[in-house]
Homo-oligomer: 376 residues x 4
């Protein structure tokens, strides 16, 4: 693969590289790691890339890689830039004939995501979106159990993604914070765009239901911010299921507290990202069950995402790697005539995510309570 | 004390008696334990009361006790009936010259609560309300820490009270469920009136702030119910603090999951009722602190609510007893000229609770998002 | 009941009184609360006892109570003194025709315990021992499950009772510490006598197996102590089951960490006193089960020890009260011809406890590894 | 690096490869993955190795790699075979001029380990031992805090490593189990050799103290086994600190429960491998502190072992990778004249580990309680 963005000091770039490399199936072969030419090339050198494949910018990378023989050029592009560059890089990569695996949110706004779908369809290349948290084995297990009816009809969803790192006014100076709080680079939302969209995706992924209507209230808790740093969204799903989504970046003491509870009319499941190898199945009238990664039997789909035996904890990097592995499998498969399904968030999730962000921002500004989630 | 309601098989009656007796300061001396005369008297006998103080109904109890010499008659009345009887019994007791300690919600509706305040003021008797969860030592500790500025300015509150026991249609047949789902006995709300009001009270008690505006969405998840069994309320407090209140009685697998998190601009505190002897104080940039009942120093106010050394868990009954103890101290003090403060929820909390319930129901029926919490 | 010891400031005296009173079945009617006459009488007054039943010492109490008409005198004596007084008070009380409920360890040494058994048998009075931790509902549930074969054949037991409060040299000045570290009042052991014996009793109670052989190592970690403040005992049970018992009073940061794990050849159970309403049942090849007080079905025996519904935590005082309740039932029953079994630790547990303490101290002083647990 | 052992289906081989690759600093370039020639070569192919570097056996690998130009040949050999092959492969590799990173226990017996030390010293090559659990950031943090005196003088250590997977007689058929239970391949101990030695190493690593004397009791709980599957060892460290080490492979319901508590005379620390990103610091008289990976400040040494921000859990594979990274740094450094210290368990830990295993087995067979830990 080739990487755009994610130079040294960019947290998420290193994470993507580890996720790609961990299973020995994907090799980083080139990159344009920064909008700064020197840093871009320097990062490539530091990563032991051959000098001729440390590119100055993504345009150069796409042009020169496309000119290489098929057996030598990169197979896909991983996009790990700030949000505003996701669309132009993805568009160019697809149009140069490369598959794309992009960080989320997919684009700067919904219109770009809709345009991207047309490009994906036109070019026939694969498009994947790193909704990392889908990659956890216990998330997949929850999804399977719900699909199999283990908790009965889903009646309520509570999903939360709380962090505290943006609580400090001083934190804004950091590289991580500065672009996220800048509408030109981040889009119409900070908190919902950065993490609320993960929570919405997780709720839809696990339940298999789509959010239909929302009531939203966003806040800029820290003075002087133009974008939200906290918010709550009431949800109605298409099947009538109710839900609540809480997201925050100013909740001091919260590290990366993504958690979800899905209540059915027979049982409930709950999962907490900071203890990712555990999944609770609870009842009203019998003991709760703690499902642990590696203990007992799992479907092939779930088993394939576990690397260690019980009690040898896997974490965030392995979940991320599962997204990469699935995307690699999808690429391997795409020249064949198979109709195999690969569990990779794609262009439809990209559109739903951008729609969620934009609709929440609009609903938050409205005096009316409920709003249909519009995708167009 | 004398008790109205709470005959055999009534869960909460036994709880009140234990809470009253546990510290050897309050003695049950009489009662009218049921609207059924035989059951009322039978319950009294089973509780070893002298036959002449096992009354047929509360009117008889009040009349006959009032006729006893001051040194012999009961000091106060504990009301543990279904909601619709709270007001008439409290009114009669106060007017017969007895202090009243009532289960919550205080009355059937806000108007009754406002009327009750006039009676309390006119009679000069004491009125207490058993918002049990205020009685936990770690709740009082949290309140003190926030008042002392340990977490800085409060910026966000998340409070939740989730249960699952009403998820089952069959559960409706139980004595506990049937009156709670009957508007004539329960009032305009089931879930918010039974448990949501505890959560609202807890949030106001710990933060010392008052809820000012609400956005509410209630549901009747189980088909055929006229009252809510689930709901979410977005909160704005008078100081501008944001909050979210979740309440549910249909969340299968939740036992009695009352929990609260208060985020400040320096730190946060969190408490979970099912692990009541622990209180978390969390920071962004230093280790979290786990404050444990009995470990280290506490104020006299907090210490006075602990009965055992560290690691000898106290629970719900002891928290309940702390409300009774504080009320007993208030009674002992009320003939003196002291201005001592006693930490007992009273008539003002009664009014705020009923206002919360009624406003939430109205807000839930509105198409508009935000509503001022009206008390009049 | 009448109480010997447990005057004001004696932690365990207040605990016994709460445990006795909480269920409204037992009334404190008299006491000799201290070896200091003034304090003894003053404590009685503070507890609202009639002046004529606030006794100067236990001899006076036994003589005068025995002289009252049967319907007026106390039913039993609760002994809550330091260890060296357990035997003389119990002996005198039994010989005056009173049942006895004694704090543990039963006596100052094994010989006294053996002598006490003869007195119990001769007088025909009831004798109970407050091994509090047996009173927890989840402990009884574990015992039942093991008896029913739910975990298969028991193969290993790990039981631990760790505290930290005696880690501080300065702590020795406290009333609690001073007599425990004094061989004349405490006996041959501090740590094993005070808490190790609870752990041994718990292991035998839950498994239904008897300790047969031991290998012991005791330490006096804090300089200058003549008695142990820490120790480990390897166990072999009569059926061949292996075990480990850890006890410590100098493990800083441990509050009252009594916990036990019993491994069978099909499953295991584990329980932690500081989270007493939870019991784990674990397997190798299926999800763990978290059994929670109040959730699902329990036997009548276990249900009878629970006072609140699920999620309303009960704790140490309620467990203690369960011992008192069972003893009260045993007394009520003892004039009848019934052969009902009452789940109260008695004189046999008293002897086993004293034998455990003495054998462990001897084994610790030996160069040989294994020693038969001798009772004679 | 080149790998010996660890072909397909060998759990630990895949773990080593991930650990080596995850940071992009180490490349697998060749291997002899199995004692079965076909499987050895097939495994290499499956790992995308060039055919000429998929070797038939380790002798061939060492000979042919040594014949390659220095810039092309592997830098070191990773040994992931069953125990009996550790010594011959390590010896041959060192003597062919390759550094060695070996799985534990280092050898089949103590004599081999002592011989290995001579070879290491003679050849001047580096030798590392994958005591994985040392690689966790919170373990290193605990070690630092103790070295800095944060808990005062260490007075007691409790370390446990419990698993349940060998509880089932049927489990013996598995590849993992069969060699571990075979003295010819595993050595004199199963449980102590496989996991007890990890626990002993962890205790010495964190405390910086050496085990001096032991009292041991090993068992073969499952009938028909010649090697131990469970055991307890009482410890005395050279400084007089007491300790207890529990190890088990037949404790049903335990996954990979390695945990350690170190009690000092000021505070204590505790760590649980299954929740590896948390470290507790506890006191008697102030709130406990929960130190979390990524929250607050850490030394450079500790920070260098963390890859993700707070709340993005790292696990077993990352801990393993930290051992590999440290070994890679050591190799890079070894041609320079630097005296930098690298935190890699080495030949001395190899010898201590083998001595621990052999001494424990001997002590277990003795009737005497205490035995000096002999290394010779």
């Amino acid at each position: 693969m080739g990487m755009v963005g994610g130079g040294k000091d960019a947290f998420i770039g290193a994470v993507h590289r580890i996720a790609a490399q961990i299973d020995g199936q994907i090799e980083l072969v080139c990159g344009a790691f920064s909008s700064n030419v020197q840093r871009s090339i320097g990062s490539g050198h530091a990563l032991y890339l051959p000098p001729e494949r440390c590119y100055e910018d993504y345009q150069q990378m796409l042009t020169q890689e496309a000119a290489l023989p098929a057996s030598e050029r990169m197979d896909f592009v991983a996009i790990v830039t700030p949000n505003h560059m996701h669309f132009p890089v993805a568009k160019a990569a697809l149009e140069h004939g490369f598959h794309v695996l992009s960080d989320k949110p997919a684009t700067l706004n919904l219109n770009e995501a809709l345009a991207l779908k047309e490009i994906v369809e036109k070019t026939g290349q694969l498009y994947g979106l790193t909704h990392t948290y889908n990659g956890y084995p216990m998330v997949k297990q929850a999804r399977e159990m719900i699909a199999e009816g283990k908790i009965g009809k889903v009646v309520k969803v509570v999903v939360e993604y709380s962090q505290g790192w943006l609580a400090d006014k001083n934190s804004e100076a950091s590289k991580q914070a500065s672009w996220r709080l800048d509408p030109a680079k981040s889009g119409v939302s900070c908190c919902m765009g950065d993490i609320g969209v993960h929570a919405a995706n997780l709720a839809e992924y696990i339940t298999g239901q789509k959010i239909d209507s929302i009531c939203a209230e966003l806040s800029s808790v820290i003075e002087g911010r133009t974008l939200d740093d906290d918010g709550t969204v009431l949800l109605k799903f298409a099947q009538g299921t109710h839900g609540v989504l809480l997201a925050s970046q100013i909740s001091i003491g919260e590290e990366n507290n993504l958690n979800i509870r899905i209540y059915g009319d027979k049982a409930s499941v709950s999962w907490v990202q900071q203890e990712p190898n555990s999944l609770w199945l609870k009842f009203n009238d019998q003991p709760s069950q703690l499902i642990r990664s590696g203990v007992g039997n799992f479907s092939n789909t779930v088993s394939a995402t576990m690397r260690t035996p019980a009690g040898h904890p896997e974490g965030y990097l392995e979940a991320f790697a599962n997204i990469y592995q699935a995307f690699a499998s999808q690429i391997r498969n795409c020249n064949s005539s198979s109709n195999a399904h690969f569990d990779v968030p794609g262009i439809d999730e990209a559109i739903r995510g951008m729609a969620f962000i934009e609709n929440v921002v609009q609903a938050s500004q409205s005096d009316l309570k409920w709003h249909k989630l519009a995708i167009n």
